[in-house]
Symmetry: C2
Subunit: 324 residues, 2 copies
């Protein structure tokens, strides 16, 4: 299995520089935030979002042309927005673990987690404004709006058995795909790529983001606590109904009953998990993720062959491989 590090080889140095820049930025004047940033960056996030930005920037440039400072800044902005939103999500969800390590709120308290999130959002907005490109400002401000919307929707749709697959995909777009889609599109805008290619970048990012989220939601059922760094079936327990549950409910009406009473009777959770495992829920979710991954690859067709393009194609494979 390809490791994500070798996958990102064409932009490995760029990513290392990006992490260093963000640490400096956050830590420069605030020791406690520095500790939070260290905590965050040592936790081994995969930097998928900035990697996609950097790989697209490289794939669309002429061979041998360096990634521009504005593309690098855009990559930093995506990672800042992503982490700001994680900080706040973890406070809101009172989460203690993420990616196998304790959360910032658990380690440093809500105060630091909220402030670190606000600081990152604010700094990202400022960097964004100073990219001096109104179209890019609009694309990323849309993302920030979508993230807030997704955070709120998730809270209000807990244990809602009326949730449709369409609702789920919309929520997943807000939560995950919007950032990847719009920042991919922004690469095209900054590179002054033709409009159709720029739109392909958007669709590529959207499809990658949805595949990524569906795979994450499958792993919540199939992974053990150790591999995932958070309790398995956490989504189901908290009433966050994802693709495997929605598909399973179509086959197993009793699953609806259990979910409608919010899994409150003894044995409900175990029974719900068994019903899901005996349904096509996981298999159909996997097929859906594969569809999105394939459609993402198609959107790269207009790009000339390059190491960066190859890495983007392999990234979609890698996302699916997490399932096996």
């Amino acid at each position: 299995m390809t490791s994500v590090t070798s996958l990102f080889a064409p932009v490995e140095d760029d990513l290392a520089q990006l992490v260093e820049n963000l640490k400096q930025l956050i830590g420069a004047r605030h020791p406690v935030l520095f500790a939070a940033a260290e905590h965050l960056f040592k936790s081994g996030g995969k930097r998928v979002r900035p990697a996609i930005v950097l790989l697209l920037a490289r794939a669309v440039a002429d061979a041998g042309v360096e990634i521009s400072p504005r593309h690098r800044r855009l990559a930093e902005i995506t990672e800042m927005i992503h982490n700001a939103s994680l900080f706040h999500d973890d406070v809101v969800d009172e989460a203690e673990m993420r990616r196998g390590v304790t959360t910032v709120n658990y380690e440093f308290g809500n105060r630091i987690a909220i402030q670190a999130g606000d600081f990152l959002f604010a700094q990202a907005s400022w960097y964004l404004a100073n990219l001096d490109n109104l179209e890019v400002v609009k694309l990323l401000s849309e993302v920030i709006k979508d993230l807030a919307e997704g955070e709120i929707q998730q809270g209000f749709s807990s244990f809602d058995v009326a949730l449709t697959l369409e609702n789920y995909l919309e929520k997943s777009y807000y939560k995950t795909a919007s950032l990847i889609a719009n920042s991919s599109k922004a690469v095209g805008v900054l590179s002054e790529a033709p409009a159709d290619l720029t739109q392909d970048f958007y669709e590529f990012g959207r499809a990658v983001g949805l595949a990524f989220q569906i795979v994450d939601d499958i792993l919540d059922f199939t992974s053990t606590v150790d591999a995932l760094g958070k309790p398995a079936c956490a989504d189901l327990k908290s009433g966050n109904l994802t693709a495997p549950v929605l598909f399973a409910m179509e086959e197993k009406p009793y699953l609806q009953v259990l979910i409608e009473r919010e899994l409150t009777e003894p044995g409900d959770l175990e029974e719900a998990i068994a019903l899901i495992n005996h349904s096509q829920g996981i298999a159909r979710s996997r097929a859906l993720a594969e569809e999105y991954a394939a459609s993402a690859v198609q959107r790269l067709a207009k790009l000339p062959a390059s190491d960066a393009k190859q890495a983007l194609i392999e990234l979609t494979d890698y996302i699916l491989k997490r399932l096996y």
Copy 2:
């Protein structure tokens, strides 16, 4: 004493419309946020920030010209950013009261307060991007950055007797004056006013903001709980060293001793308050606020006479009158 309502008479209808728009915006799709918004808007905030934007917009327009939709949107953005920052500040400070009513976090929990703040920031960013003016985007993104910086600085300078008046004014700029200064400047930009007038608007807003903050900080010592809606001397208790304390420390070295030990011995707080009351701390703070108010009025000199200009002049008076 002029009431703040009659003061804002030239833009009273505009402000009522603004509050209605914000309620609709926040509440349209999220019932719980709607409750939070209602709670916020019934709490009788004075809408000083959007009032200043609307009054400046009117004062700089030719007589009889209506305020433009973009100026109205800018006014909404200032109120959204202000309230988003209050929501998060109150969570961070675990505040239970503000302006005489319970806070959103106290009433609805941290989850809703954080989400409502994120939602308002996000919506403000999006409105901002769609004003289609890169200079205005930069001015307001600077504000968002300053607010986050102010929030963090305040936490890290608790009970720090080395804090200078300059540090205090910088912190007050971040916390309060930056929003008024930069949104005032943005009025000039949107109105395509001459550069020197636009800079006067910035300086007007900065001076008003600093006067406002200093008066607030004085009131924390001179007001009773009832008038202020939060416990008196709350700043001193929490280690937030403001103008009256900083001036008093110059005269009363023992005050430093008390503050350095964070007022932890029995009777420390009462003794500290007595020392401040027997110093020139309050009087010198008042003189400083008066200086800023006077300098704000000077910055309006280039504007032709109008009801709106008169209201802005009276606003600076009104800020000081809160002290008597």
